[in-house]
Subunit: 308 residues, 3 copies
C-alpha cells in the first residue's frame, strides 16, 4: 500500500503516503488504548528486530507494535549472536531471511547500512536508525505528535536545537517537516553543524533566545556523546548558555507552543532538571512521553501498510 | 480485585487478600499441568518485565506466568538498553509506560526502588526484589508451598536459617508467615543479623541443632555473597557447624517436616551436596522444586487478580 | 511418535524415523511459505531454548519453529542468568523444568551435556550442539537438503571437507549419511582429524582436488577457530591449497552437484569470497541458504513428532 516497500529515509515516502501513515496511526493509537490491545492483522507474519546498537525505546516500540498486530517478532542483537564468531552482518541477515522472515527492522551504527541491506534482499526493510544518517520512523512520530497538537502543518514554526552534526533524528526531521510545509529553523553552533549545509537549506540561529518566543515547536536534540569521537563543545556552561532549555526560557514560550525531544534526555544539558520535573500547566508543554506513545501507533501503521 | 494495585511488600496485602491469592493459585496450578497450558484471560495486556539484576527463576517465572495467561510480555534488562547511554531508570520507565504497558514487574538492587516507582506511575507495579528489602512474590509462593503441604498455618513452626541481614526473602517471609499465624524462629549469628531486630520480633537461635527436631519447615536462606561487601562469616567450616543442613541433621527432622530454599542453593554451604543429591523417602522432604512450580501459579494468580 | 523422546545423537533415530521426520518436514516447509505462517499444533506447550554458547541460526531457527507451531518459547542464555551467581547448569535446568516446561532445546560447549541432562530429567531434550560431539538437527536438515535436491540417497557421493576434529556437524553428518546409504568421503589432513578414526570408517583424501569432479555433494565444514585451543593448520595459504573451494574448483564440479556449508562461512578460508558472491547458473550450486530454510522445517517436524 506504499510505493516503496522499504522505508530507509524520508524520500521513500510521498506527501500523500506520509498523510496515509498518519491517518492509519490514529486507528492504531486507539488500539493501544483499548482494554484488549491486540488486533489479528499480522497473525502468522514474522518480523525480525535487528539492533546492532543499544536501544530501549525504538526496539521496544517495534516489539510492542508487532505484538499488538499479532505478528511473531524475533529479537536479535549483536550480543550473544554469531557476530561473535566473526560472521558478517550481511551473512547474518541472509541467514535470518532464509527462515522466511517477512520484514526486517534494523538499527546499525553505519550510515547507509539499512539502504545497503534493502538493496540486497527482497523483503521490506525499515531503517530504525543508521549512524548519523536517517531515522525515518522517529521523524514520522515527531510529525504525528505535531499533527495531534496543531492539526495542520501550514505556517507552523519549528526550531530544532542542538547537535545537528551527529543526529540522524535532525536529518530526518528537517527533511520530513519541510516536505510537509513546516517552517524549520536550526539553533546550533558551528562545531555542532555539518561542514556543508546545502542539504539543509534552512535558517540557522546560534541562540535559543533568538527563537524562544516565536516557535510553535521547540525540538531539543539529544547531545549524541556516544557518537562524538572528539569534544564538540567547550563546556556544559557554554552549551547551557546558548542551547539548553531552562525554566526561564520555557516561560517565554508562546501559550500554544510545545517542547519535544527524541529521548533519552541528558538532564541538565539539553533540558534542565527543573524543566524535566516540572508540574502544573507548564508541564503540558512537554510532549516527550506523547512522542513515545505515538511511536507505537506510527510503527503499527507502517507495519500494517507494508505487510497488511 | 485487590485493595492496592501494586504489590511492593507484604503489608500491601491483608490476610483475606493473601488467602484469595492462594485460592486462585490452585486454579492456575491446574492450568500449568494441563496438556494445553494456556488461558485467554489476559489476552491483549502488555506486561513489562524489568530486571536490573541477574535472575533465572523469578524472571522466567513471571515470563511463563504472563504467557500462560496470553498476555504480551516485554523483557527488559539493563544490558543492551539505553541505560548504557546514561538514561536514568526512571526515564526508562516513563518511556515504557508511555507505550501503554498495563503492569510492570521490577527487580532492582536498590532498596525502595519498586516503591519509589510505584508512587510515581499510575499502573500497577509488582516488586520482584529490591535490594535487601522485600520479595513479596517469593514469600507468597513460600507460603503457598507450606499450605499445599500442611493445609493450615495455625501452630506451624518454621525456622528461617542463615543470612537474614542480606536477604529480602527473609524479610518478606518473616512478615508474611507471622501475619498468617505461623510461629517463626530465626537461626543465625550476630554477623548475619541486622543491627536493629525490632522489626523482626521473633525468637533467635544460633544453631540449627536447637530447632532441627522441632520444626515443621526448615527454611534455608541463600548466603547472598553477591550482596555482601565484606566477609560476614569467619569460614565455611564455621558456617557448616551451626547453619548448614547436612544428612545427619536431615535425619533428625520430624517425619512430616519439610526443607525449603529460595534457590539457587550454594551446594556445600547452606545445604550439603549429599542432601541435594539424596534420593528415596528423605528426598521427599525437599520442597525446592515445588517452590518453583508453585511460583508460576502464584504469579499467574497475582497478575490475574491485578489485571483480570 | 518417535521411539526415543529425546534427540541427543543420530543413533536415537532409526532409518524409518529419519524418513518420517523428512516427510513431515515437507508439510512444515509449506507452512513457512504461506502468507499466514502459523499453525495451532503446539498451542499451550512451553519450550525452553537453552543456549550456553553463542548462536544465531540454530537458536533463531528453533525459536521461529516453535512460534510457527504456536508454542510458547522461553529463551535462555548464560548471560544475565543465575549462572552469574554460581548456579550449576543442572540446578538451572531443574528450576526451568519445575515450571512445567514440555521440552528443552540445549546447546552447550561440553560433549555429553545434552545426554547427561536427558538422563536426569523426564521431559524430552533436543541436542542443539554439545561441544565437538553431536548436532543431530543440523545433520537432519543437511540430509533433507540432499533429499530435496536428489530425491533418493542410494549411490550418492558426498565429500565432507575440512576440520573433522573439532566439528560436531561432521560427526552427526557422517553417521546420518552412512545410515541412509550415502557414500561418504572425508577430505582433511592429519592435524584436523581425530586420533582414532575407528568410529568414522570412511575413505579419507587429503585434497579437495581428489574428489571435486566426482561428488554429488561437496560439504564444506566451518573451521572451528573458537573450539581450537592450538593452531591446527600451518597457514591459510596451505589450507586454501588443499581444502578450500575457489571458483576454479567450483567449475570442475559435476553439473548436478551442490555445495553445502553449516554456516557461518569463514569467507576466504573454507569458501573463497568470489564463490560466496557468485551469481548466475553457478550460484545455484550453493545450497547454504536452503539449508537454513529447511532447518526451520526440520525443527518444526521434530517438535511436532515429539510433542504433537
Amino acid at each position: 500500500m506504499l510505493s516503496k516497500k522499504s522505508i530507509i529515509g524520508i524520500d521513500d515516502l510521498s506527501v500523500e503516503e506520509v498523510n496515509k501513515v498518519l491517518i492509519h496511526a490514529d486507528s492504531f493509537l486507539e488500539v493501544s488504548k483499548r482494554d484488549v490491545k491486540k488486533v489479528p492483522t499480522l497473525r502468522g507474519k514474522t518480523i525480525a528486530n535487528l539492533f546492532f546498537e543499544p536501544s530501549t525505546r525504538t526496539k521496544t516500540s517495534f516489539e510492542i507494535a508487532a505484538k499488538r498486530l499479532s505478528a511473531d517478532i524475533i529479537n536479535f542483537s549483536a550480543q550473544g549472536s554469531s557476530l561473535e564468531k566473526g560472521e558478517s552482518i550481511f551473512d547474518t541477515l541472509k541467514t535470518i531471511l532464509a527462515m522466511n522472515v517477512d520484514l526486517v527492522v534494523i538499527r546499525h551504527s553505519d550510515c547507509g547500512a539499512a539502504k545497503l541491506i534493502s538493496e540486497n534482499i527482497n523483503i521490506p526493510v525499515i531503517n530504525a536508525g543508521d549512524g548519523k544518517h536517517q531515522h525515518p520512523t522517529q521523524a514520522l512520530l515527531d510529525l504525528y505528535t505535531i499533527k495531534k497538537k496543531f492539526d495542520s502543518f501550514k505556517g507552523l514554526k519549528v526550531a530544532i536545537v542542538g547537535d545537528i552534526l551527529n543526529s540522524r533524528v535532525a536529518r530526518s526531521d528537517i527533511e520530513l517537516f519541510k516536505k510537509m510545509g513546516i517552517d524549520v529553523t536550526i539553533v546550533s553552533c558551528p562545531m555542532l553543524l555539518p561542514d556543508s549545509m546545502d542539504y539543509i537549506n534552512v535558517e540557522i540561529k546560534d541562540s535559543i533566545d533568538d527563537v524562544i518566543d516565536k516557535v510553535d515547536v521547540l525540538y531539543m536534540l539529544r547531545m549524541q556523546f556516544e557518537r562524538q569521537d572528539k569534544k564538540f563543545y567547550p563546556s556544559i556552561r557554554e552549551y547551557n548558555k546558548f542551547l539548553s532549555l531552562d525554566i526561564n526560557r520555557l516561560k517565554k514560550m508562546k501559550l500554544s507552543s510545545v517542547v519535544m525531544h527524541p529521548g533519552p534526555v541528558n538532564r541538565g544539558i539539553e533540558i534542565s532538571e527543573e524543566v524535566m520535573s516540572i508540574s502544573g500547566k507548564l508541564a503540558e508543554k512537554l510532549e516527550i512521553e506523547n512522542q513515545v506513545t505515538y511511536g507505537v501507533a506510527i510503527r503499527m501503521a507502517l507495519l500494517y501498510l507494508i505487510l497488511g
